[in-house]
Symmetry: C2
Subunit: 120 residues, 2 copies
Amino acid sequence: MKATILFAHGARDPAWANPFIAIRDALRAAKPDVRCELAFLELMQPDLPSTINDCYTAGARHITVAPIFMAAGSHLKSDLPKLVTEVQARHPDLSLRVLPPIGEVPEISNLIAQWLAAQS
Amino acid sequence: MKATILFAHGARDPAWANPFIAIRDALRAAKPDVRCELAFLELMQPDLPSTINDCYTAGARHITVAPIFMAAGSHLKSDLPKLVTEVQARHPDLSLRVLPPIGEVPEISNLIAQWLAAQS
């Protein structure tokens, strides 16, 4: 089984999570055969390690972590690799892959620029 | 004259700004008649008030602030309105408009979900 976990920062305001929930729900609709979850670095639950463990326990052996961040700062360059390394050590038979932040994906940043141009 | 200011969080790592610079450059290419700038809430320069002031001084009277954030937390619900209110008070003849965060734009979040589906 495959799983994709959207990884977001987290915030105090519960409404902050809504755009991420919308993306998770759209991903679930597009990929009904893939388990799609949402996890947070801080301030919101669930956290990433427990979400990876849950997917593993449910049978996922190929897990993709997708940081829904615009850019890679210390959260993605330091915090995330640490979490991934720890979970990987616990489950040596797990294939764990981390995608680039969405802001570094040219087709996404191009669409953002196009949308901004239409508003400018 | 019109201006659009991309508003990003900021980070310690200079490379963090690259995706935002790429979007600003694409926007400049798409809208050569609009002044397009990038400003930060913290940790990076320039800040938003000075960038708005610079655009105003250069003649812009219609300024769009585009938060390049996935979601609205306290930075967009509290910090940004304060900054905008202060600048607006200084320049009553300035038309200042704030866009929703990009993660709340359905066409952008749909593309993110599509891209994630292709990677899942």
